[in-house]
C-alpha cells in the first residue's frame, strides 16, 4: 500500500468515529462556508465493499450505489457523531437521500443520526437561479454561523483562498498523473481527499507526490469518463494495463480543480456563482458546451482512446454517450462503452475486457 493509500484508508475509516464536524456528501458541497464558520469538514464516502443491509428496507435498488451506501451508513449510525450533515442537491439522487433520511427517522425515531440539511444550490444558468442560490447560501451561512462562528466576508474570503489552494494542488496532481509520473490509483486517492484534510496538508501532500514521482515509460493515453467512482478498481485496472490516465472525467475528478472561486467583490456572490455555474455535477446544463470542453481537454491531453464506464443503474450519463463518442471520433479518438458495472461487487472481468478492447482500438487507430 502506498503512503497515500494508507492515508486515504485511515481517513475513510476514522472519520465516522470522531466527534463533531460537518459531514459533506460529495466534494462539491460549499466547503468554503464550513471553513469560514470555523468548523471541521468531514467527507462522507460511499463504500463499495459493503453491501447495504439496513438501507434496502426503505430504498430501491435503482438508486445510485453511492446513495444507497451513504443511506445505509446513516442508518447504521456511522455518522452519528457529526454536528451536522450537508446534502447538496448535486443530483436528484442526493435530494432523494434527504427525503429518505427524513422518512427513515419517522419510521425509526431511535435511529442515531446527525441533523441533516439540504443544500439546495441549483445549476440552471439563469438569473433567477442565481438569486435563489444566493438566498440558500445566506441561509446556510446563518445556520453554520450558529453552529460555529458567525461567517464574515473576510472570513469567507480566507476560506475561499484555502479551497482555491486545494484546487490548485489537485491540478498539480492531475498534471503529474497525465504525464505518467504517478499512478491513476494514487491520483484518484488524492482527489478523494479533497476537502477531507486541511488546505496546507493537501498542498503538502501534492508536493510530496511530486517529489516522489518517477518518470515512467509512456503508456497508452486513456480518457476515462462516466459514473463517479468511490474506489480505485477501475484506476488499478488501467495502471495494471500500463495505461496513462490522461483525463479523468467524472464529477469528483479532474474538474474539481477548476475554475477557482474569484472573490472580486462580494465573496458570498463569488461562492454562489461557483456553485451555480462551475461546480461539476450531473445537474450542470447545457450539456453540449460541457461535451465540447471535454473533447478539447482530451485533445489537449493527447488522448488516444476513451473509455466510458457507467454504473448499472445509470439513467443519465448514457444520454451523453453517443454525442461524446461521435465528437471524439471526429477528433480521431475512438471510444469504448462499458455499461452495467455494479457499484457493489463489480465484474472486473468485463472491465479488463473493455480496457483490452480500448487498447486494441487505439492501436488500430494508430496504424490507420
Amino acid at each position: 500500500m502506498t503512503a497515500l493509500a494508507d492515508l486515504h484508508a485511515r481517513y475513510a475509516a476514522r472519520h465516522c468515529c470522531r466527534a463533531g464536524g460537518v459531514g459533506l456528501i460529495t466534494p462539491i458541497a460549499p466547503i468554503e462556508l464550513v471553513l469560514a464558520a470555523g468548523l471541521r469538514p468531514v467527507r462522507l464516502y460511499g463504500q463499495t465493499d459493503r453491501m447495504p443491509t439496513l438501507a434496502d428496507r426503505y430504498m430501491e435498488a435503482e438508486m445510485d450505489g453511492e446513495v444507497r451506501s451513504l443511506f445505509d451508513q446513516f442508518l447504521q449510525g456511522r455518522f452519528a457523531g457529526l454536528d451536522l450533515a450537508l446534502l447538496p442537491h448535486a443530483s436528484e439522487q442526493h435530494l432523494h437521500l434527504k427525503y429518505y433520511l427524513d422518512e427513515a427517522q419517522r419510521w425509526e425515531p431511535e435511529l442515531d443520526m446527525p441533523p441533516v440539511a439540504l443544500v439546495d444550490l441549483l445549476q440552471t444558468p439563469a438569473w433567477a437561479t442565481s438569486r435563489y442560490d444566493r438566498d440558500r447560501i445566506d441561509n446556510l451561512a446563518q445556520r453554520l454561523g450558529t453552529l460555529g462562528q458567525p461567517i464574515t466576508a473576510q472570513g469567507l474570503a480566507q476560506a475561499i483562498a484555502q479551497v482555491n489552494a486545494m484546487r490548485l494542488a489537485l491540478r498539480r496532481v492531475v498534471a503529474l498523473r497525465s504525464a505518467g509520473r504517478i499512478t491513476a490509483a494514487d491520483a484518484h486517492r488524492f482527489a478523494a481527499l479533497f476537502g477531507a484534510v486541511s488546505a496546507s496538508d493537501y498542498a503538502d501532500l501534492a508536493g510530496r507526490l511530486a517529489d516522489q514521482s518517477i518518470v515512467q515509460t509512456a503508456g497508452l493515453r486513456v480518457v476515462l469518463s462516466g459514473s463517479m467512482r468511490d474506489d480505485t478498481r477501475v484506476y488499478q485496472a488501467l495502471d495494471d494495463a500500463g495505461a496513462v490516465l490522461a483525463v479523468d472525467d467524472h464529477v469528483a475528478a479532474d474538474r474539481l480543480g477548476g475554475p477557482l472561486v474569484e472573490p472580486e467583490t462580494d465573496p458570498f456572490e463569488a461562492v454562489t456563482e461557483y456553485y451555480q455555474l462551475h461546480a461539476p455535477s450531473v445537474r450542470q446544463t447545457p450539456q453540449r458546451p460541457l461535451d465540447e470542453a471535454f473533447v478539447q481537454r482530451c485533445q489537449d491531453a493527447g488522448a488516444q482512446v476513451h473509455i466510458c464506464v457507467l454504473e448499472d443503474v445509470d439513467d443519465t450519463l448514457g444520454w451523453d454517450w453517443p454525442r461524446r463518442r461521435d465528437l471524439l471520433q471526429a477528433a480521431g479518438i475512438p471510444s469504448v462503452l462499458l455499461t452495467g458495472r455494479g457499484y457493489f461487487d463489480p465484474d472486473d472481468g468485463a472491465l479488463k475486457a473493455t480496457i483490452a478492447q480500448a487498447i486494441a482500438l487505439a492501436q488500430e487507430a494508430a496504424h490507420v
Binding site: E92, L95, W107, L122, D135, Q287, D315, G318, L337
Partner: protein
C-alpha cells in the same frame, strides 16, 4: 363482470382527443401557428393563456405505446447508442422525432415546436430536452426544481388552501420568477402575448374542474359497486387534465360525473359480483389497459383507482386571493414529490385506500424509469403497515417488451386469492 357498455362520455373523450390533434395539425402544419411541447409536470397554463397549443410529452408517449410502436422505437434507440437501461416513459416522443418517419409515427408525428418546456425533476431530463431541441432546432426552456426543505405530513389537506406554507415561500418565490422568465421566452418564441385575464379565467376553471372530478371521485369511492372501469376513468380524467382551463373540460367532467351518478343511482356496477377492490399504483399500463379488467369475472375483483383518477382534483386545485401566477407556481412545484416521494406518496395513497374501501393494491414498479420507481418501497411498507396488502410488479409502463401478460395475470390472481382475501 357485467355487460355495462362504456360510458358515452368515454367515446366523446377519445373523439375529442382525435379532434384536438386534427385541429392542432391544422393550426400548426397548415396555418403555421406555433405550438409547444411540454412535460406533464410543467405549467401548460402559460401556453393556454397565450392561445398556444401544447403537446404533453407523456400523452404522446402513451399514444405511441397504445399503438404498440414502443418496441420499434426502443430498438431504434439502442441502435443509436443509447443503452438499454435508459428511461423510457418520457423519451419515446424524442426517439420518434429522431426516426423522422411521419408514416409510422402516431398522427403523422410531431412537427417542429416553437419551444420545448421541461422541468428538472430528474437528471436526465435536461439532457433529453437538449438533444430533442437540437433535433428540432428549437429553444429549450428548463424550469429548475428546488428541493423541499421538509416534506411535512398533511399535503392532501393543505395543498388547496394552505399551499403557501406547504410548498415553502422561498421555493414559490423562485418558481414565480421562473414562470415570468418562461412567459418572456414563450412570448418571444411564439410571437403571441400572454394574457393575464385568460390565466385568471383558466385558474378559476381548473379549480371548478377539480371540484367536479372530486364529486365523480366521491361517487366512485362510495358506490356499493364500482360504476366505471379504471381505463375509462383514465381516459376521461386525463382528457380533462390536458385541456384543463377550457370550458370543454368542465362540461366533459360534468357529463362524466352525471353518468357515474346515474349508474350509482341505478345500482349498476362494472362487476355485479364485486367483492374486492384494488388500487393500481404508479404509472398506467398504457399498452395493455385491458389488464385492469381481467379479474372481474374470475375473482369478483375490480381495479377502482389509480393516481390518474383524481390527482386533477387533489393536486391541481389551488385557491388563491390575489396572485394567480403564484397559485400556478404552487400547482407544479411539488408534483413529483406528491406522486413519487415518501412520505407524501404513501400518505395520499393511504387516503385513497380508505376513501375507496380498497382491499389491496398492485404496484407497478417501473423498470428503466427509476424516477417513477422512487418511493415505492417506503410506500409499500406504509400501506402494508396500515393493513393493505401490496403486490409489486416490475415492468415498464410503455415498453411492451418488458411485460409478460400471462405471468403477471397469474401473479395478480394468486395475490387476490392468497393475500387480498385473507386481508378482509
Amino acid at each position: 363482470m357485467s355487460d355495462l357498455p362504456p360510458l358515452s362520455v368515454t367515446a366523446l373523450a377519445r373523439e375529442n382527443q382525435k379532434q384536438w390533434f386534427q385541429e392542432f395539425r391544422a393550426r400548426v402544419l397548415q396555418a403555421g401557428e406555433p405550438y409547444a411541447i411540454a412535460a406533464a409536470v410543467a405549467p401548460h397554463e402559460v401556453f393556454h393563456a397565450m392561445d398556444v397549443p401544447v403537446v404533453p410529452i407523456p400523452w404522446y408517449s402513451a399514444v405511441i405505446s397504445a399503438k404498440q410502436l414502443s418496441p420499434y422505437y426502443f430498438s431504434l434507440m439502442e441502435n443509436m447508442g443509447f443503452h438499454d437501461g435508459l428511461p423510457r416513459y418520457s423519451t419515446l416522443p424524442y426517439i420518434s422525432t429522431l426516426d423522422n418517419d411521419p408514416a409510422r409515427a402516431p398522427y403523422g408525428g410531431l412537427p417542429k415546436p416553437a419551444l420545448i418546456l421541461e422541468r428538472l425533476r430528474s437528471d436526465y431530463v435536461q439532457r433529453v430536452g437538449e438533444l430533442w431541441a437540437e433535433a428540432f432546432d428549437c429553444p429549450l426552456v428548463l424550469m429548475d426544481a428546488p428541493g423541499q426543505t421538509e416534506l411535512r405530513p398533511g399535503w392532501p389537506e393543505a395543498a388547496q388552501h394552505g399551499w403557501e406554507a406547504l410548498y415553502e415561500p422561498h421555493r414559490l418565490d423562485f418558481q414565480v420568477e421562473q414562470l415570468k422568465a418562461l412567459i418572456h421566452t414563450a412570448e418571444q418564441a411564439t410571437g403571441k402575448p400572454f394574457r393575464q385575464s385568460r390565466l385568471e379565467r383558466d385558474m378559476a376553471n381548473i379549480n371548478r374542474l377539480g371540484e367536479v372530478i372530486a364529486e365523480a371521485r366521491d361517487l366512485i369511492a362510495s358506490a356499493p359497486l364500482c360504476p366505471v372501469p379504471l381505463a375509462e376513468q383514465l381516459t376521461n380524467v386525463m382528457a380533462c387534465t390536458w385541456q384543463r382551463g377550457s370550458q370543454w373540460a368542465i362540461d366533459h367532467a360534468n357529463a362524466y360525473r352525471d353518468e357515474i351518478a346515474d349508474r350509482v343511482a341505478a345500482g349498476q356496477g362494472i362487476c355485479t359480483g364485486e367483492k374486492r377492490r384494488l388500487l393500481w399504483l404508479n404509472n398506467g399500463l398504457w399498452f395493455n389497459t385491458a389488464f385492469y379488467r381481467y379479474f372481474e369475472q374470475s375473482h369478483d375483483t375490480v381495479f377502482v383507482w389509480s393516481m390518474y383518477s383524481d390527482f386533477l382534483s387533489d393536486g391541481y386545485r389551488k385557491y388563491y386571493d390575489s396572485d394567480p401566477l403564484r397559485a400556478l407556481a404552487a400547482r407544479h412545484i411539488s408534483m413529483s414529490e406528491q406522486l413519487h416521494q415518501p412520505p407524501w406518496m404513501a400518505e395520499w395513497i393511504l387516503k385513497q385506500a380508505r376513501d375507496f374501501r380498497a382491499d389491496g393494491a398492485v404496484m407497478l414498479t417501473p423498470v428503466n424509469d427509476r424516477m417513477a420507481s422512487l418511493g415505492t418501497r417506503l410506500c409499500k411498507l406504509a400501506l402494508e403497515h396500515a393493513g393493505l396488502p401490496v403486490l409489486e410488479i416490475r415492468a415498464n409502463a410503455v415498453d411492451a417488451r418488458t411485460w409478460d401478460d400471462e405471468t403477471n395475470r397469474a401473479r395478480v390472481a394468486q395475490f387476490i386469492e392468497e393475500r387480498v382475501t385473507s386481508a378482509r
